[in-house]
């Protein structure tokens, strides 16, 4: 299978993957003297589930923060939807169609689940401030339409029962799901999940894996996720990037990566000599 072809490919389970959504070219990110990401290039295709894995401190989260605009790389280019991205603020990246979740969950704790998910649609609502303030023009119609979309997502992720609950009162696993719902509500071209299964028990992990696959299947969402649980990643993803000490040491379908000697070294801790 030739994955380097620009016109996409067909996965083992028969899903058709499209062209490039995100293309990272020679990204280097430094914090002072520390090089967190060292000359990394890879791409993400439309409709695929792409995983970034690696041991702790490999630079995975930094990579995600570069994609979502929270960090600005010193070198390299980010191409999104066929256009080179100039230096932009995180909220502008979000408006261009990149939604994300956070490793340590960043939800609006004081707001209800419904309100949290509704914030995901802020940029899809076009009524002006005056229309909103005076509740005239398309403000009401728009609110109802968006509310319907949000209810659909809430149903889909099976969180109807807690719609009105303030997020601060929810257990960890459900919070993770609400965060996924909020990101999904933005109908992103690219969904970034930062360790969606960190801190979960086996059952919750299975649930989350199922939701990720379902989301990809139902909405055709392109997903990039970070995870350090190898087993989960291999089952879930179409292609995997492996990072270690800020470098890319592997890239390909799960089987390829699993048999890559450098990857095995990194994970089993063999010295680099």
């Amino acid at each position: 299978m030739n994955i380097q072809a620009t016109e996409g490919y067909v996965t083992e389970d028969g899903r058709k993957i499209g062209g490039t959504v995100l293309d990272l070219k020679n990204i280097t990110l430094r914090f002072g003297g520390l090089t967190a990401i060292n000359d990394i290039s890879f791409d993400i295709r439309k409709g695929e589930i792409r995983a970034i894995i690696g041991p702790n401190g490999a630079g995975k989260s930094s990579m995600l923060n570069v994609i979502s605009g929270f960090y600005k790389p010193q070198e390299g280019e980010v191409w999104f939807n066929g256009k080179k991205r100039s230096a932009v603020k995180p909220y502008e990246v979000a408006r261009q169609g990149v939604a994300r979740t956070f490793q340590n969950i960043a939800l609006f704790e004081g707001m209800s689940v419904l309100d949290n998910v509704m914030t995901g649609r802020l940029n899809l609502m076009k009524a002006s401030m005056w229309q909103q303030a005076l509740w005239i023009g398309k403000a009401e119609k728009e609110e109802i339409e968006n509310r319907q979309k949000v209810e659909h997502i809430i149903d889909f992720l099976e969180i109807q029962a807690i719609r009105k609950t303030p997020v601060g009162r929810l257990p960890y696993g459900l919070k993770k799901r609400v965060e996924l719902a909020r990101a999904l509500a933005a109908e992103p071209d690219l969904l970034l999940l930062d360790e969606p299964m960190a801190g979960m028990n086996v059952e919750e992990k299975e649930d989350m894996s199922r939701f990720i696959l379902d989301v990809n299947d139902e909405f055709g969402t392109t997903i990039a996720l970070i995870e350090h649980d190898m087993g989960v990643v291999m089952d879930l993803s179409d292609r995997v990037v492996v990072m270690d000490y800020g470098r890319k040491i592997g890239d390909g379908v799960p089987d390829e990566v699993r048999n890559n000697p450098e990857v095995i070294d990194a994970y089993l801790g063999v010295s680099h000599d």
Partner: protein, 331 residues
């Protein structure tokens, strides 16, 4: 009913109305504190500045007249026109929005991520700066604010209630301006709550108040929301400035009402809009009632300190206020 009891009720009603005005000032603080964690010491001066601007525009004063005259040797003070109240209010709102934008652009944008005490100090600086600008722009004399609001005691209420308490009771004395102020304040609060609960920008405001990083990730521009919040606070300041200004003239001591908002906030909690309202009402009623019941025994003038002592008691027993978020630190 005994006359004393009825006077007590009158005191409570007047206290509630004074409380509404306190709440109005406190509301401006809460808006900014919630969204940005900044305790805005300049809120009182903003009320003063907006009232000065309103009067200045209505009377057709030339802004910075003294400065212009001193530099160019001219002698201009007035444009020679007067502006109708409604138009002047709209223009003043415009000025407050520009002020909000400038505060964000030239001050707080450069202080993002600084400790709270630094931000607080910045607002103290801002307060003095704005007071100076107000002085320079509109002069320092006391001005009357003629918005055509009804003034003086309401005869209708007095006549209606005069029969209640026998010969010693002459009916409730309630200032018409207080009634107007109360209605305006209630409308304003309803509008603010509706805006923050049911509109997209309100939702974005609450989102920013809750978590900056998460707000960025759903595409909210923090800068824009902060300008919006400062504009809203400016609008609230204008309403407070107009009501206090209509009552006692627009003068520089108006900025001191900010100090009265402090005990209100300590009672109600710095992060709660309902808290600001409840706190304002409690302080208003509390100080009037205390003056009425205890004042004569201690020689009066208790209104000057009662609110602060009450706030102190609250600080000791319930530091987060009545409705504020509980302060829990994980160890």
């Amino acid at each position: 009913m005994s006359a004393d009891f009825l006077y007590g009720i009158e005191v409570i009603i007047n206290g509630l109305m004074a409380g509404v005005l306190y709440a109005l000032v406190a509301l401006g603080f809460v808006l900014i504190f919630k969204a940005s964690g900044i305790f805005n010491f300049a809120q009182g001066v903003m009320a003063l500045f907006s009232a000065l601007t309103l009067v200045g525009i209505m009377e057709g004063q030339v802004p910075f007249a003294h400065l212009i005259n001193a530099i160019f040797g001219t002698s201009i003070h007035h444009f020679g026109w007067t502006v109708p109240a409604v138009l002047a209010i709209i223009l003043t709102i415009g000025v407050m929005v520009i002020f909000a934008w400038m505060v964000q652009k030239f001050l707080f944008r450069h202080l993002v991520g600084q400790p709270h005490i630094i931000l607080f100090m910045a607002t103290i600086g801002l307060a003095y700066f704005l007071e100076g600008v107000g002085d320079l722009m509109w002069g320092s004399s006391i001005k009357r604010l003629e918005l055509g609001l009804p003034q003086g005691g309401s005869l209708a209420i007095e006549n209606l209630t005069s029969g209640l308490g026998g010969d010693d009771f002459y009916g409730f004395f309630i200032d018409k301006l207080d009634i107007v102020a109360t209605i305006v304040a209630i409308l304003l609060v309803i509008l603010l709550v509706a805006f923050s609960q049911f509109t997209k920008y309100g939702r974005a405001m609450r989102a920013v108040a809750d978590d900056h990083q998460a707000a960025l990730s759903v595409g909210i521009s923090l800068n824009f929301i902060w300008v919006l919040v400062w504009s809203l606070a400016g609008f609230v300041a204008l309403v407070a400035g107009v009501m206090w200004g209509a009552k006692s003239g627009v003068q520089f001591s108006l900025s001191l009402i900010a100090l009265k908002a402090l005990p209100v906030l300590m009672l109600g909690g710095f992060t709660s809009i309902p808290g600001a309202i409840v706190g304002g009402l409690i302080i208003g009623v509390g100080e009037k009632l205390f003056e009425y019941l205890v004042g004569p025994m201690v020689g009066g003038a208790t209104e000057n300190w009662f609110a602060y002592v009450l706030a102190l008691v609250f600080l000791i027993f319930r530091p987060q206020g009545l409705l504020g978020e509980r302060i829990i630190e994980r160890v």
